[in-house]
């Protein structure tokens, strides 16, 4: 799993996902003066979702910069600084706000490498909070995984636990390309938004990287393949546990990165189980679930016996608890979909 020389030392130390993410940032900032952090409320507040907690104290205001509520301005400034050779980590507070800055994100950040014939690089990390489950409604609950993954030129990373978050963040900062690092609020381990079991994991103190494009088989199984990411990795694992009692042995795959996509691991699994369930917190149509199903249909059609998609339906995300619970795929929805493949 690790690309750094030597395996990370085994550890019992458990970290929340936010601590793990910050540890990677802090280590890279200490190692390289050119790495800096910029965003709204990243300094004194430490990030609304603790994504930069403690960095101001460690590195000071010059390297941990609060900026005006001007996402086009400061994300574009990140692009400019990255092209000048620095390695900015820029935070878009919620992925839902992408619409005020999307031109910088996808017309400059994502395309400049290609449009320049690779004479310039944009070694920038765009961190952003995603996801629902706490009733923040239509403008603050989306994951938008499909929206970012669809547009070429950005690597798109979605960690589901602390161990991965640290390794993927190290890789993101060291990568010479723009990386969109989408962290799920519910996984961060915030005091005011308890995380489920799972994302808090043992995390080695040393640096280590997790390469992009390597999905993680979280649970091996022979009867059905559940492909998912982010928060829903944990829900899928819970569903898989539940299904054991019914004699259904589920394989659960955590994609970890959407771009690059590890289609091979998905295909291998589908060839084995013949049954594919894709679970996504993003909208159902024209997104992640469609892509994964299409990959399987293209390359493993003969083995495919059943296909199910479990995703946010094509509605804006509602506010009231029973409504949000209805649309956000739950453990029971996943279990039912697996059953439906039989």
């Amino acid at each position: 799993m690790s690309e750094t020389p030597g395996e990370p030392v085994a550890t019992e130390r458990e970290l929340t996902m936010s601590r793990a993410m910050v540890e990677a940032i802090s280590s890279e900032m200490a190692a390289d003066e050119e790495v800096f952090v910029m965003g709204e409320d990243v300094a004194d507040y430490g990030g609304i979702f603790d994504s930069t907690q403690g960095l101001l104290e460690e590195f000071g205001r010059d390297r941990v910069m609060d900026v005006p509520i001007s996402e086009t301005g400061f994300i574009g400034a990140g692009v400019g600084a990255a092209q000048a050779g620095m390695r900015p980590i820029v935070e878009l507070m919620f992925a839902d706000f992408f619409g005020v800055a999307m031109d910088q994100i996808y017309n400059n950040m994502a395309k400049n490498t290609y449009m320049s014939g690779r004479s310039v690089s944009v070694p920038m990390v765009l961190t952003t909070a995603v996801g629902g489950t706490y009733n923040d409604a239509a403008q603050h609950s989306q994951t938008l995984y499909g929206t970012f993954a669809h547009l070429p030129g950005m690597k798109v990373v979605v960690p589901s636990n602390a161990y991965d978050a640290k390794g993927l963040m190290h890789n993101a900062i060291r990568d010479d390309d723009p990386v969109v690092f989408m962290f799920h609020k519910r996984l961060m381990g915030l005091g005011w938004m308890p995380a489920p079991e799972g994302p808090k994991t043992p995390v080695p103190e040393d640096d280590y990287t997790i390469p992009f494009g390597e999905a993680d088989v979280k649970r091996e199984g022979t009867d059905a393949t559940v492909v998912t990411l982010g928060l829903h990795v944990h829900r899928a694992m819970e569903a898989a546990d539940e299904l054991v009692d019914e004699g259904i042995d589920t394989e659960v795959i955590d994609l970890r990165t959407l771009v690059p996509l590890d289609a091979e691991t998905v295909l291998e699994s589908v060839r084995k189980t013949g049954r594919l369930v894709v679970v996504d917190e993003d909208y159902r149509s024209y997104g992640v679930t469609g892509e994964i199903v299409a990959r399987a249909a293209e390359d493993a059609l003969a083995d495919l016996e059943a296909v199910e998609r479990v995703a946010m339906p094509d509605v804006p995300i509602p506010y009231a608890r029973p409504l949000e619970e209805e649309v956000n795929p739950g453990v029971e929805d996943i279990a039912a979909a697996v059953r439906a493949t039989r």
Binding site: D44, D66, S70, V100, Q139, P329
Partner: protein
Amino acid sequence: MPSVTELREIYEEMVTARRYEKRLQEEYLEGKQPAFDISAGPIPGELHLAAGHEASAAGVCQHLRDADTVTAPHRPHHIAISKGVDLNRMTAEIFGRRTGLSKGKGGHMHLFDPDVNFACSGIIAQGCPPAVGAAMAAKKRNTDEVAVAFLGEGAIDQGGFFESLNLASVRNLPVVFVVEDNDWAISMPKERVTDVSNGAQRAEGHDMHGVRVDRDDAVAVYEAAAEAVGRARDGNGPTILEVQVHRRMGHFMGDAEGYRPDEDVEAAEMRDSVERLAADLRKHGVDDDELTAIRDRASARVEEAIEFAKEQPEPDPEEAYEDVFTNPPAGATGGED
């Protein structure tokens, strides 16, 4: 200068808003004890309260009619109350109930009351362009309606605000941009994010009018708004009206404000526009009994709204699939899950 009757109305709106938010806060925190858990308790989601902002909304909206449009940001309750939004249904919405303004789909940052042309959005400054559009419609239809966009001082660094200024100015539209300056954008003090201490100065880049009310004072707001709204209504174009207000609480419920100096919080508490207006009213011969009566009436209305909301049913889960479209397509996508 507002009449005493108007002053009483303004006062009543302000104490209604203050009382309302105090009660919301109590309800919100209930069930979030001892550890604050955003997903627990009777009110879902985030909650941005506006205690200390009331003078701005009350002073401005005194000049507005139901047909005039108001757009508000993420901190909308005081504005909604002054604009005359149905308090019962608004509260039901905030509690996530089926009879809420949006049937429980919108929530506290997405309140819509078309009867009084009120709407809000949780995205910074993004209420400005729709307000410009409402003003455009008024002008095309040759009415004397106006539109008012409220936003925070942190929002005046956002591109959508500037584009709105320019569009309003070049088309001479009846719109007023009311900037509530509470010195903070979450944890970021104003001077960290802009060199301009008076946000109304942004007007100068657009050859439009800009004025700042430097005290947290409903009467001063009323007077400045009389001019700004009057200018719009008379076809004389847009204005930025910046108003000094104070954030008496955290940015949202649960914000411990570790970044904020104690003196700043104290200062905000000292400069209480509600108290100031009460003193003004006393000067105009309104006695304490009458002030108490107003406050009691406000409290009663607030209690009624909260009672109403709590009695309302929650929406059925399947209702989540309705209302995406006004004209739903026959074989619509989505729905299944």
